[in-house]
Amino acid sequence: MQLKFLQKRILDKLLVTIAILLSVQSFAQDKHTISGTVKDKSTGELLIGASIKIAELKGGTVTNSYGFFSITLPKNKYKLITSYVGFNASEKTVDLSKSNELLIELTPISELEEVVVINRKKNDNVTKALMGVEKLDMKMINQLPVLLGERDVLKSIQLLPGIKSAGEGNSGFYVRGGGADQNLILLDEAPVYNASHLLGFFSTFNSDAVKDLTLYKGGMPAQYGGRLSSVVDIKMKDGNNKNFDVSGGLGVISSRINIEGPIVRDESSFIISGRRSYADAFLKFSSDSALKNNKLYFYDLNLKANYKLGKRDRLYLSGYFGRDVLGFGETFSTDWGNSTATLRWNHVVNNKIFSNTSLIYSDYNYNIHFKTGSDKLLITSQIKDVNLKQDFDYFINNNSKVKFGANVIRHTVSPGRVEADETSNIKSTIVENRNSWESGLYGSHELALGNKLNIVYGIRLTNFTTIGPGTFYTYDKDGNRSGADSFGKGQSVASYWNVEPRVSFSFQLNASKSIKASYNRNVQNLHLLSNSVSSSPTDLWLPSSNNVKPELADQFSVGYFQNFKNNQYELSVETYYKALQNQVDYRNGASLEANNNIESELLYGKGRAYGIELFVKKKFGRLNGWVGYTLSKTERKFEGINDGNYFNARQDRTHDVSVVGIYKVNDRWSLSSTFVYSTGNAVTFPGGKYRVNNQTVFSYTERNGHRMPAYHRLDFAATFEGKRNKGRKYQSSWTFGLYNVYGRENAYIIQFKDAPSDPSKTIAEQVSLFKYVPSITWNFKI
């Protein structure tokens, strides 16, 4: 009760402060508003985060996720300069004698021009208050060398400082010491619960369908919530609303096709993008009949359509369906995948207020089929979300912008269900569903104070309530059941309120130098239980409950930002400290599958992570790319593990280096290369061995007290553009890649066992994957 009162006090106080700050801005003056959208002239795609500057004044604004902007200024004539990476800047003079609506269309820079255009002023990275934000240019991602030629946005972001790969060729990643499950991965606002295919080797995002990717590793804006360490906000393309386009590609692993076009020219469009792998197609040619019956493939289907209802309203419907299928003849098969759907309604309330209402659905599930003799088994598990969300953007003036909104999510988790045939001896078992409500209310204010200081401050108030029906148990500290309570439908079992303050500011030292700082608190109420060392489709999401408390993270970061040579080079140094509470681990020997007492298997602890990230990027020119370096430490502490002392988390890697270079040889050939180096993961190796049950058993001393060998790898790719005929739309290109150029045998796992040749000895055996993997991909566009 006292806590609630306190929270209300804090909230009241903040609302008053916001009101004061807002009123400062609105002194009487004859003011008018220019509002509108920024689009790609060639395709009609809305541009997210395009910057609009007023030549006569300092300051300006950027477009929101729907390409919308609004600026309010005193009556006068102004020159608006609109710019966006990869596009020619546009200049427009507007006479603000009355409020205006504007459509700004930017033309893409042609391949040829790209190397010479360097005189663009682009110093948002220095001036904006937000820090820890990375935005990747899809064009650049498409040029980077990747495993088996399969372009992958989630693998490309791992080349940035502070973001670490979860393993060889893995699309999972760790951000600033957080776990792989602490990243909020959104596809058109819908959370994707398992963003990987084939046990992590490929991500679920088909880059043909991706328009924009923004990653927040710190200073998360208040509109995002639900995960501790990062937000990856992926927006799908809207589709070309001017012309029909068919593009696609053939690769080693998969083929892709992408169709887009207008529904109503210049107004509405659609896009359909599909991808399917065909490893199993090769199995069919196998002479081995057992192998012939095996299945192994995945597919993705992205669909999106938008429709303009009127001058002020637009509807978007987007969907994603993806699945992995693995099967071995009749005995065993498994399939898993995500489905998401988002229905959005954009409404321009007036020229200063933009509203978006979203209805979002997300579902992740897996099935395992197993058959022996008369026993036929189906094991299933599912997590399902229905989310209703309302967001407002209020563009007060060119120095001040407010975002506020609310959302409510209904989570349904079906942890495990075993269904058996009637003829089978195995009994059907159902672990009770868990239902919960997650709601959030947020407000955030972006403010320029004078010419030098920019502030974004906000707050997010969240509630998580787990409700019945169901039986909820309590456990003693050894994990033995100590009580049970039955709850009726809709009855509250446990409810958690949290206040998440978020603040970041930048202070500009001069036009090309700034310092920034941020603090944010994040809360996570869905916990991924994985009793294994790599990601698995059967990893289980568990909501907060009477036993499991919300995970909390507090992150402080400070950074220095500088641009050189007319913004051609960008340098940043960021440091962070992150404290984690209520982290979840499991007891030794825990069985997580189909277990009604799963919460008895859990341990709760805390963590800390700190580090420094250096980043130097060359943004334009024939040669561009970057160098990133991270020095960091990540630790966890659990009672009952390592005598209750801090131990290195698995992802604790002291040094992490990545070098990325892209070189444009001429207008037909471009070359790219990446190099990565990192300290090996912290792992637990045996301290000795003994004999139990006539078998060699290893003994262990310290959790994660050893290191895997250092990981390093060089990749290379060359892209050849086909000849372009004037007046013909057809284009094609070839990409040749070589993954792991010098054939480094990086350790994927190290296992200890009796020597197969001499059972009186034990050996350490290293398993490596992917030594010199060549690839070839052909892309086309009609």
């Binding site: 009994k427 698995s536 030794n588 599958e593 034990t762 290293q766």
Partner: protein, 255 residues
């Protein structure tokens, strides 16, 4: 499950390579290992040995001169050293439902533990089946028994192929097959069963602590989880376990 998926990927990737490497492992201090059993069929036996460094050969020093006692409701059964490091008492045949207390005094330290012998579940028969698994078809043995009503029954299976113990064991509980006939297969990670082999299966009904001990041991040994010493119920800090379990063996010939 996880292991299966990972091995499937390895099979299909065909890109992996394995090699023996040298890992510099600091020598942990030697620890006492106690492996103690009371069964309803044969005599009670306790072996005491010591752990060795990873780089040593697989010979483990036996520990002699210990005082070993197992008690059943106040009745003491002292165990005597029958050969170096092995202590036994021929008159202690376990009774299902009874609670057994172990006390070991060795090298100036005391170790104690408790185990309850579960009621015996009868192993009815051994079924054989050819499974199509991966590239090949493999033989599996399916022990058939009727799980009693109520939860909380734990089973362990040990396989001997042509008189040689197979280096893998299976433990499970009755979460999936409760109050029903179980024929869960004993799937080998590296299949070694051929036609004409004689296979002997020992089925043990074990208590919850022993079940958790072996589940954890299995998880740690096959890299499925972050490895750790399995928690046991032995106070004093020894490795190993104390299990009072029922035992039953059956044989089958593969044909």
């Amino acid at each position: 499950m996880k292991q299966v998926l990972i091995s499937i990927f390895f099979i299909t990737a065909l890109l992996g390579c394995k090699k023996e490497i040298n890992v510099d492992l600091p020598n942990a201090s030697q620890q006492i290992v106690i492996e103690a059993t009371v069964t309803n069929a044969t005599y009670a036996q306790v072996t005491i040995s010591k752990s060795v460094a990873f780089s040593n050969s697989n010979t483990y020093p036996t520990v002699s001169g210990a005082t070993v006692n197992i008690s059943d409701n106040g009745v003491n059964y002292p165990l005597t050293e029958s050969k170096a490091g092995t202590y036994s008492n021929n008159s202690l045949i376990g009774v299902p439902g009874h609670t057994y207390n172990l006390l070991v005094k060795v090298e100036g330290k005391e170790y104690s533990s408790t185990s309850i012998m579960p009621l015996q579940v009868h192993l009815d028969t051994l079924l054989l089946e050819k499974l199509f698994w991966g590239h090949e078809s493999v033989w599996v043995v399916k022990p058939q028994y009727s799980d009693p009503a109520g939860f909380g029954h734990y089973y362990m299976f040990i396989e001997t192929i042509n008189s040689k113990q197979f280096p893998q064991f299976w433990v499970w509980d009755d979460r999936i097959v409760n109050n029903s006939i179980s024929t869960i297969p004993l799937i080998q990670s590296d299949s070694t069963i051929n036609v004409n082999d004689t296979i002997e299966i020992e089925m043990r009904c074990i208590d919850r602590n022993v079940f958790r001990y072996f589940t954890a041991l299995q998880g740690s040994q096959n890299n499925a989880t972050t490895p750790a010493n399995p928690e046991n119920e032995i106070t004093g800090g020894a490795l190993g376990y104390f299990s009072a379990h029922t035992t039953q063996r059956k044989k089958v010939k593969v044909q």
